[in-house]
């Protein structure tokens, strides 16, 4: 008996000695939302794109500073303004062993534009994708487009053979009854493979030994879990059950920074939070002003702008985790942003403007606000309500969960709002996206500037937007954009940009991460001690 025990002990010690060195690590991360589908074309959402960016790759990639770099395409050139040639990387294999070729690119371009795809905007609808040889592809455009490839880092390339063999040649249509293979399985070319995926519970990533690049991470396993409850997510981070958590509620930042295990990494995000007005109805739907629309008067819009003290919001409501913004785009994405200082709050001037406009006693209007979408969204709206009350504007605040809020104010609800708070990130990281979505005229069905909720509309801006789309000279293009912003913001006061909210990642002190401003979680750049 005693001998047996000794032998057992010896065996245990031997095992312990021969265990591999603790170099390779398991990285555990938790996000508030689910990784809903593994099909990279089924949901156009930053989080999904980021997670799948560890498995799938596009022709281009973006580096740690968001600069466009080669991905599955080694290089490319604009042969003619309407013909782009992409030279594909050779020797790249999909995770199931198939070779990556031009056929896959042509196939992916078609698939991305299928009816059920949510990433149709990645490619112009009429672009022709032509295979020149196995490793060369031409994109033939109907008009020049200098930002053709700006969003291609999240237009991921799927294997044609794999998708067709598994009945996933098209993204899963919304109404389908059958299981979609591509929604539950992944086959990319990227640094990680997905070995287990339980939708809404847990996803396990392992390094891809066949990856063409050189890994910077030291993970042997990455485990993603959803933790939707804020308090639980923070507790899991503090107790060391997870290494990374996002988002961290602002009120927990100090507590985490004071803890032994973890810290909060805050950085500027690209999303701009702003207020918008209904500028097209002849009478506001939700106001006590009858027979006319006060927001059609530029003086009223300017008065609203000047009445709101954004610095106070950034300081108090956002606890400094926000950068006040003069434009509808983040300064990281537009080099001439520095020419636009943010006008200071001036309630006296605001009051004067309101009086000039014929509202000496102010008026009443309902404000639509989400309460679970952006950081402290409802609190921002409450602060705005209080600030506008100082100049005599009575805001009836209607704060609702995002599911109801978006259904009301966006096209599906018939743009049913008079005054609202919204956030916007330009998917292409470029001003054209802002102009096209926020400043182009639209009709009732949303054709045109689909997300121009208040329908700010000016033919001059329309023309400039079209010019900006095709202008290939960067300096000229930037000047055009600057003029457009000058008109819309400084003359027309079309929107009230508030701030860019800060990212707040909770990170274990053992982990080194790269926090990119677009909040994509690319853990192939992370390391754990």
């Amino acid at each position: 008996m005693k001998n047996l025990k000794t032998a057992f002990f010896a065996a245990a010690i031997a095992l312990a000695t021969f265990a591999p060195p603790a170099q390779a690590a398991t990285f555990r991360l938790a996000f508030q939302g689910d990784l809903k589908s593994l099909d990279p074309y089924s949901l156009n959402e930053t989080f999904t794109h980021g997670m799948l960016g560890n498995v799938y790759e596009g022709l281009t990639k973006r580096d740690k500073e968001l600069k466009i770099i080669p991905g599955l395409a080694e290089r490319w050139e604009v042969a003619e303004p309407t013909r782009w040639r992409f030279h594909l990387r050779k020797g790249v294999k999909f995770q199931n062993g198939e070779d990556f070729t031009a056929d896959d690119v042509v196939f992916s371009a078609d698939r991305a534009r299928k009816p059920a795809s949510d990433v149709k905007t990645r490619l112009p609808a009429d672009v022709k994708v032509v295979k020149v040889d196995d490793h060369t592809v031409d994109f033939i455009l109907s008009s020049p487009n200098p930002i053709l490839h700006y969003e291609w880092d999240t237009w991921y390339i799927l294997s044609k053979k794999w998708a067709e063999a598994n009945g996933s040649a098209e993204p899963q249509p919304g109404a389908g009854q059958q299981q979609s293979y591509a929604a539950l399985n992944a086959n990319g070319t990227g640094p990680f493979v997905i070995t287990e995926h339980q939708a809404g519970v847990k996803t396990i990533f392992k390094p891809n030994p066949k990856w063409w690049g050189k890994p910077e991470h030291n993970f042997e396993e990455v485990i993603f879990t959803t933790i939707s409850n804020d308090a639980t997510r923070v507790a899991a981070l503090l107790s060391g059950d997870i290494d990374w958590a996002d988002p961290i509620p602002l009120q927990d930042v100090e507590r985490i920074n004071a803890s032994a295990n973890a810290q909060v990494l805050q950085g500027p995000e690209l999303r701009t939070i702003f207020l918008g007005f209904d500028q097209y109805r002849d009478e506001l739907k939700y106001s006590n002003v009858k027979g006319k629309n006060p927001f059609k008067d530029v003086r009223v819009r300017k008065a609203f702008y000047l009445a709101i003290d954004e610095n106070a919001i950034a300081d108090k409501v956002m606890r400094k985790a926000a950068t006040p913004s003069a434009l509808m785009i983040s300064p990281l994405l537009f080099p001439l942003s520095k020419d636009f200082p943010r006008p200071k709050a001036d309630p006296a001037e605001a009051k004067k403007l309101l009086t000039e406009a014929g509202y000496p006693n102010g008026f009443e209007v309902t404000m639509d606000c989400p309460n679970d979408r952006y950081v402290n969204d409802e609190a921002i709206c409450q602060a705005v309500t209080a600030m506008l009350a100082r100049v005599g504007i009575k805001i009836n605040l209607l704060a609702q969960p995002k599911a109801k809020y978006f259904a009301k104010i966006l096209v599906s609800g018939g743009y049913d709002t008079s005054f609202y708070l919204l956030g916007w990130t330009p998917g292409s990281f470029d001003s054209w996206n802002i102009l096209a979505n926020m400043y182009r005229c639209r009709d009732e069905k949303g054709v045109g500037g689909n997300n121009n909720v208040g329908n700010y509309c000016k033919p001059q801006i329309e023309e400039m937007t079209n010019k900006i789309l095709v202008e290939s000279d960067t300096a000229k293009r930037d000047q055009l954009i600057k003029t457009a912003y000058d008109i819309t913001q400084n003359q027309d006061w079309a929107y009230i940009p508030l701030h860019q909210q800060a990212l707040a990642w909770g990170v274990s002190k053992k982990v080194k991460v790269v926090q990119r401003a677009d909040n994509q979680i690319l853990f192939y750049w992370f390391r754990k001690e």
């Binding site: 519970v201 107790s239 679970d372 978006f406």
Partner: protein, 325 residues
């Protein structure tokens, strides 16, 4: 007995139809599912197309009858967010909820009954007062608060027990169990206590009350006069007679443990059906919501049916009544 069961089964069908009808009418007010399914840049036409495909443009009666017809064949459609059949998702989550419910019911019984007996017998002991104070906490604090407090006490401050999730699970056919791994068992402790605390309190108070009643009864006095040992009296005679109401309550509470596990599940990120439902509400995932509500109604109805039948088994008077009827 057979007539009784058939009558109850018919009633159950009516209950379930009513539940699904109410649920279905409510779905009109939770928001637009399309917004949760597509990115913000999706155009109006594409959204309209999707609405048409999903049949959201049909009238409520049409949608409802389609749903009932499909549900009768156990076809609940595809989840809007996960793009997989709802029935698969629920099958996947079902074991997690059931194991949690089972563990907390077990906890409630194994701790609640002895505590009840003890506080009934040694009414003035200090420990009795401690137990009663604990039971006050269990009754008065809301579940999510208890969960958060436990998380901050054990995983965060003391560094023991996991703060979320289910640990490692073992797959046994269609069932995934956390009972067979150390991490699975550890992960079960806090959620089971959180979920079971209220039931435990209830059972303890119930047992205590019943025991005190029974201990005053004549036959207990006779038993004492006969010189039976305390143990034989307390456990052999008194406790046995208190168990009928305890059984009823436990049975009925099992239903609510399963149905209301969703709060505990969301605090501990327990991958069960309740959490699935909660997320579905946020994302307006109508197929999941309707399937879940129907399932919960089904569980309640079944448990009630079983309890009713057990009554008949345990209590001969009910049996005789039904025979006469």
């Amino acid at each position: 007995m057979l007539a009784f069961i058939i009558r109850r089964l018919l009633q159950s069908v009516v209950v379930m139809l009513t539940v699904s009808l109410i649920a279905f009418t409510l779905f009109r007010f939770v928001g637009d599912p399309i917004n949760q399914m597509v990115g913000i840049e999706t155009t109006a036409e594409e959204r309209a197309q999707l609405r048409e495909q999903l049949g959201l443009n049909d009238s409520v009666p049409v949608q409802f009858s389609r749903f009932v017809a499909n549900a009768a064949r156990l076809n609940f459609g595809n989840s809007y967010q996960f793009k997989t059949p709802v029935i698969d998702l629920i099958k996947d989550r079902f074991p997690a909820t059931m194991e949690l419910a089972f563990a907390s019911a077990l906890f409630a019984l194994l701790v609640g009954i002895p505590m009840g007996v003890y506080t009934a017998i040694d009414r003035y002991a200090i420990l009795s007062n401690v137990f009663l104070s604990i039971s006050l906490i269990g009754i008065s604090l809301p579940t999510f608060l208890i969960g958060i407090l436990l998380i901050f006490l054990f995983p965060v401050t003391l560094g023991v027990l996991p703060s979320f999730g289910r640990g490692e699970v073992v797959r046994l056919g269609f069932w995934s169990t956390g009972f067979l791994t150390a991490s699975g068992l550890k992960a079960l402790v806090l959620p089971a206590i959180t979920l079971g605390l209220f039931q435990m309190t209830l059972i303890m108070r119930l047992v205590r009350g019943e025991m005190m009643e029974v201990l005053r009864a004549d036959y207990i006095k006779f038993a004492r006069a006969r010189g039976l040992s305390n143990r034989a009296i307390n456990f052999g005679h008194a406790l046995k007679n208190t168990l009928v109401p305890v059984m009823t309550i436990t049975g009925l509470q099992l239903g609510s443990i399963i149905a209301f596990a969703l709060i505990t599940e969301s605090v501990f990120q327990w991958p069960g059906m309740g959490l699935l439902f909660l997320k579905a509400v946020q994302n307006v995932d109508i197929p999941i919501m309707s399937a879940y509500l129907l399932l919960v109604a089904f569980i309640f109805v079944t448990i009630n049916l079983i309890v009713d039948m057990l009554y008949a088994v345990v209590d001969p008077r009910i049996r005789i009544d039904t025979k006469v009827a």
